[in-house]
Each structure stands twice: as C-alpha cells, then as structure tokens.
C-alpha cells in the first residue's frame, strides 16, 4: 500500500514536472494598460517595453496585452483573465490596478505579478517604478532658463504622492536657477483624456504661461503648446512628432530592459517579488534629445543630467522648506525614499493649494 502511494505520488510529481517543462517552452508575459497602446505617452511607453521584450527573448517568450482597461471592477476581470490564460508573469501598469492585482494574485499563487507605481506587494506581487522626479528636476532647470514669463503651467492628474513629488522636483530644479520662478497647476483628474488635457493646456496658456509640462498621458497638451507658440515637455514618450518646434525634452519611460530582466528571472526560476525604484542611471527612464533651446541651456541640462546619473546630485537635497514655511531638509540633507513615496505637501514657493 505504501509503495502504491509512493508510486502514485512519484508519477503525479513527474506529471507535474512534465507539465511545467511543457509550459517552459514559451513563457507567456502579459501586460495590462490603462490607456491605448498607441496613446503617444504612458501606455505606449509600456508597449514599447513589451515589443523590446519580444525582440530580445524571441522564441522564449510570448506576449499578450489588454488596453484601455478602466481602473475599477473591469480591471479585476481583465487581470484574472490573464492569469487564467496561462500568463506566467503579468505586468499591471497603472496605479489604479493595485487592489485588483493583489486580489487576483491571491487566487493564483503560481502566477507572478508586477505592479507599476504602487505600494502594495505580496509573495507573488512585486512593484516597480522609475524615479521620474530626476527627469522633472532637469525639466525645472530648463524651464527656468527658457521661460521669459517666469511661470510654467503644470497639468497634473491626481494629487497622489507620485504627482506631488513630480511638482516639487520640477520646482526645486527651477528654483536652483531662479528662486522666484512660479508655477500654475491644473488638476485634470484623469490620467488620459485628450479633451480635458487640451482644455487644461489652453486655460494655462490663456493665463500667460510660456512653458507647459504635464503629468498626464496624451500628446494633446503638446499640440496646444505648438498652436500657441509656447514650449512644452513631453511625458512618458518622446512627443517630438506632436511638437517638432515645441518640445524641449521629454521624460521617456524605457521599461524594456526591466521587462527583459524580470522575464528572464521567471524563465530561470529566480524571480522574487521586489520593490524596484530605479532611476536615470539604471536606464529605466531617459531624457529625449534637448531641442528647441539655446546651446547654453542645453549644456546646463546635460550637466545636471550627468550629475544626477553619477549620484553627485540628488534633486531632493536641502536646504528645502515646506510650503507653510517650516523646515523640511537641512543644508545638505537628502530626503529618504519613504518621505518621497508618501509625499503630501508642497515645497516653499508654490502658490497652489494642494487638494486634500
């Protein structure tokens, strides 16, 4: 009897092994996008990463995606569908997919999940994010040098730490050049809605800003800036095509290398959930070519970028005061990551009131 059980157990284990081996022929990697994969911005950035992954690993991987998935009940269904369709690794690429990712991951302990920009992880959910604030600091430096009005327009999405951190980094960069530099902020309350983004851009242009920057996903603000003859920064993808005379530079999300690395880890069986927060030096974000600006500004921007890469400059280095005048960072003090990731205050010199 004991032998029979043993034999059964062995054959079951073998069966399981061969099934796993069969699945290993091609590792299926799935992506879920909040916007269209051709939005010219954030979701397109992730899809570029998916394509690079396909090219790099060739026959070893198979990829699939779902686009325009709303953050909410539909997201849970979409993610579960992926887990069920044999995906070994699922990248959920928007903040609002966080709870749905955790929920589905509990039901599918054998599937690996990676959630972008969130703060919840588990045994099979890792998180990954890029230090976009490094790029925003550089943009702030450029804005303060290029702007004649001394005021930039900022199209923000939601008042979550990620976005607040971006505004603060932009202004720290600007203040390093011109301590009186101002910013006007419009909360679009959406990640991707070309109509609303364009309206926000027009409202800001009407108020006299001559530089636009955005934390939303579409190219609409760039197009408005081009129509109004002002300058703008691209977001998530190189948006130079939408504003050949307009774009100063863009923060380009380059997730490809990361996707390749993590997929390889799944193939090798070494994947572990991690909380990744990489920066310019790791290549998870890059700056689009510095265009439409005088050479000295370009040179200054390149110098700042080099300093950030080398670690010589951290954008959040004291002395920095909070908006209410209280001290935050002392001279030479560098902010810890925890404060940045939970950031819910403005630095001094921002006139806007943070919606809370």
């Amino acid at each position: 009897m004991k032998k029979l059980l043993l034999a059964l157990a062995t054959s079951a284990a073998l069966l399981g092994f061969s099934a796993a081996a069969g699945a290993q022929d091609k590792t299926k990697v799935c992506f879920i996008y909040v916007g269209s994969k051709t939005d010219g911005g954030y979701s397109e950035g992730h899809d570029r990463g998916r394509q690079e992954l396909e090219q790099a690993l060739g026959d070893k991987v198979e990829t699939a995606f779902l686009e325009n998935v709303p953050e909410g009940p539909d997201a849970e269904r979409a993610i579960e569908r992926m887990a069920r369709s044999g995906c070994a690794l699922v990248f959920t690429t928007s903040f609002g997919f966080m709870d749905a990712t955790i929920k589905v991951a509990q039901k599918f302990p054998d599937v690996k999940f990676e959630h972008a920009t969130g703060f919840k992880s588990s045994e099979n959910v890792g998180t990954y994010n890029a230090r976009f604030y490094e790029g925003r600091y550089i943009q702030g430096v450029i804005a303060a040098k290029v702007s004649k009005a001394g005021v930039a327009g900022y199209i923000a999405s939601f008042p979550i730490p990620e976005v607040v951190m971006g505004i603060n980094a932009f202004m720290l960069g600007a203040h390093s050049v011109n301590p009186d530099f101002k910013v006007k902020i419009v909360w679009a309350n959406t990640w991707a809605d070309p109509g609303k983004e364009a309206d926000a851009a027009k409202a800001l242009a009407d108020q006299g800003v001559d530089i636009l920057t955005q934390h939303t996903d579409s190219t609409a603000p760039m197009q408005v800036a081009a129509e109004r003859g002002i300058k703008a920064f691209g977001q998530a993808s190189d948006m130079i095509a939408a504003g050949p005379e307009t774009q100063l530079t863009a923060i380009v999300d380059t997730w490809g290398a990361y996707y390749i690395k993590r997929t390889q880890a799944v193939i090798d069986g070494t994947w572990k959930p991690e909380n990744i927060w990489d920066g310019l030096k790791d290549g998870i974000l890059t700056m689009a070519p510095y265009t439409n600006m005088p050479d000295d500004v370009k040179k200054a921007a390149e110098e700042v970028e080099a300093k950030i890469r080398s670690g010589e400059l951290h954008p959040f280095t004291g002395p920095v005061k909070k908006q209410d005048g209280s001290d935050w960072l002392a001279e030479g003090e560098v902010s810890d990551d925890g404060t940045l990731l939970g950031m819910n205050f403005y630095i001094a010199g921002i006139d806007d009131k943070l919606p809370q």
Partner: protein, 364 residues
C-alpha cells in the same frame, strides 16, 4: 432625390421573430470579413468572441456580473418606456443610489451590524427613486420634457460623486487618491456561489425582471401601463391617471437603477470612486430596446451584451488585436439589430424629385 422609409402594410411575422438571429448572422459575416481584413483568422476570432466565454465557469460568472446592472436597470426602464415616460437618466439614478447606499458604510464605518447591508440596499433604492422624482415632479406638475431633465441630472450626479470622493468622503488612508474608505465586510454584497464573482445583484436583476414581466402580463397595473402608453386619452376614459403613472414608472425605474448602483458598488467595487459605472445607465437603454421592452427579453439582451464585453476581451488577448476592433464589432452588432428590425417593419423608397414615386429602391 431623397430616401423615404415606408411602413410595410403586412410585415412578415416570421421575419420579425427571426430578426435578432438574422442580425446575429449578418454580424458574424461582417465581423468575419473585418477580422480577415486585418489578417486574423476569422473563425478563431469569432470563436473567442462568442463561444469561448461560454465554455468556462469563470467567464460565465463574469458575464453575470456585467449583465446584472444592465438587466436591473433595463427592466425598470421598460416599464417607463411602455407607459410613454422617457427616463434617459438611469445613469444618474444609478450613481445617486450608490451614494445614498454608501452613506452607511462610509459615514458610519464604525457601526458593525448585520443590518448594514439591508439598510444600504434600501437606501440605494430610495436614493435612486428620489433622484428620479425630480424629473417626475417636473413632468407631472410643470409639463417639462423628462428626456432633457433626466439626462441633465446625470451630469449633476456624476459631478456630485466626484466632489464627494475628492472632498468630504475621501479616505484618510489612500495616499490622497480620490476614493472612499474600503467597505467593511458586512457592507459587501456576498457572492452567490463559491465558483465565481456573481453576487446577489444578479439575483435581484432576475427577480426584478420576472416580477415586472408578471406585472405587465397578468395584473391590472400592467394593463394600465400599456393603455396609458399607447393612448393617454383612452387611459383617461378607463379612469387611469397619467400623472400618477408618471410618478409610478419614474420612481420604479429610479429605485431599480439605484439598487443596481448600490449592488455594483457593494458587490463589485467595494468602495466609492469617481467613476463607478462604465455607462451602465445608458447601455441599459439599448438593452431595454434589444429586449423589445419585454422584461424576459431584457434578461436575454443583457446577458448577450455582457457576452460581447467579455468576449471582446478574450479576442484582444488571444489574437492581440486592439480593443477598438472589439468596439467596432459591438457597433456592428447593434447596427444590424436595429436595421433588421427597421427594415422588417419598413421598406426603403428612393424618391426622385420631379419623377414622382416611380424611382424605387429596394432594401439590400
């Protein structure tokens, strides 16, 4: 030259019955051609669209989850439309129902009691009904067009919800994201069976639709609804009050939309957020007409529309097509359903000006 629609003297009964199937067949053909044109195997695509979701217990559940609000709202709307009251604002009543029901778990989140859920559902129905009472009052007492008022109130409801979740009801521990706190377990509408996500909202939908079907078919109230809908004057001779009917049908459809709202928020989302409906209130209008304003037909139509959503995702994932392709596909389907219905009732005439009615064009 102009094109005219002319009522057929004797529309074919057989074709009227077959119309939905004819439309489906035409959609399959047109959709197949579309998939072939973009270089995808049409058979595989159509299989993932219509068949694959039905082969899996999990996706059957997902269809039920998606269909529940559509059926619940659509059934209520059918009573409205049959009685000639055009409530276009179910989306707003859905939202207000969700908000009213959420008062319990959001404002009194420390109160733990088995009464929480029943109270939420009742509040949800009251919230939806009260919101529908505004266009009802305006129509019954000021003779206002309820299509406009109910539609405009949708936007007010959406913005009110938006303000609530960003302002007074914003969760203290969601990193400033515009959501309310998560509902406590006793505020969650439970799942019906362990095998999937279907919650009791689906049971409410079926009960409501069957109940309304019974009312329309076997009760005096149902007769009153049809008579007043077809001829207000005839209704008045029979002693029915069209003003009371405005109140009855609007409050009923509002309450059901509100119930759908709180069921969705409590059973599926688990909190309030700026967007809680992908347009259920409007899609339910299509469902009501696809189901020919018959509550049982609306069950079928709601399930079918839900299938196209779930199937649409399946196609995206298996064939790597853009989600726009599946939207086009849904559009094709509704187009063929409506055109089949129309062309069975009417025929198309090409009227050449100056030549009288000699020029004649036939439907394709």
């Amino acid at each position: 030259m102009r094109i005219e629609l002319e009522k057929r003297p004797r529309p074919s009964t057989l074709l009227s019955v077959l119309s939905p199937f004819l439309a489906l067949a035409l959609t399959v053909v047109a959709g197949g051609i579309m998939f072939a044109l973009i270089g995808k195997n049409p058979v595989a695509a159509l299989y993932s669209f219509f068949v694959e979701p039905l082969t899996d217990v999990w996706s059957l559940h997902e269809i039920a989850v998606k269909a529940a609000p559509l059926i619940l709202i659509g059934a209520g709307l059918s009573v409205c439309y049959r009685s000639n009251n055009w409530n276009i604002g179910a989306e707003g009543q859905f939202i207000m129902g969700a908000i009213a029901g959420a008062i319990v778990p959001v404002v009194f989140h420390d109160w733990h009691s088995p009464l929480v859920l029943p109270l939420m559902l009742v509040f949800g129905m009251i919230g939806g009904a009260l919101y529908a009472a505004i266009p009802a009052f305006l129509k019954a007492h000021m003779n206002t067009n309820e299509i406009l008022t109910s539609l405009m109130l949708v936007y007010i409801a959406q913005l009110f919800l938006d303000w609530l979740v960003r302002g007074p009801w914003r969760s203290p521990d969601a990193y400033n994201f515009p959501v309310t706190r998560d509902f406590t377990p006793e505020a969650i509408l439970p799942e019906m069976i362990a095998s999937g996500r279907t919650n009791y909202g689906f049971a409410f939908a079926i009960l409501a639709a069957v109940g309304l079907w019974f009312m329309m078919r076997y009760t005096l109230k149902g007769f009153e609804i049809s008579v007043l809908g077809q001829s207000e004057r005839a209704g008045r001779f029979a002693g029915f009050s069209s003003r009371r009917m405005i109140w009855f049908s609007m409050l009923l459809s509002g309450a059901l939309a509100g119930l759908a709202g709180i069921s969705e928020v409590s059973g599926v989302i688990g909190k309030l957020q700026p967007i809680i409906s992908p347009g259920y209130g409007f899609t339910a209008i299509i469902v009501a007409f696809l189901g020919r304003l018959n509550p049982l037909g609306i069950i079928a139509a709601g399930l079918f529309l839900a299938l196209t959503y779930v199937g649409g995702e399946a196609v995206q994932l298996t064939l790597n097509v853009s989600d726009k392709v599946t939207r086009v596909f849904q559009g094709l389907l509704l187009f063929f359903v409506l055109s089949c219905d129309t062309l069975i009732q009417y025929r198309v005439r090409l009227v050449l000006s100056g030549l009288g009615r000699s020029g004649q064009g036939e439907a394709h």
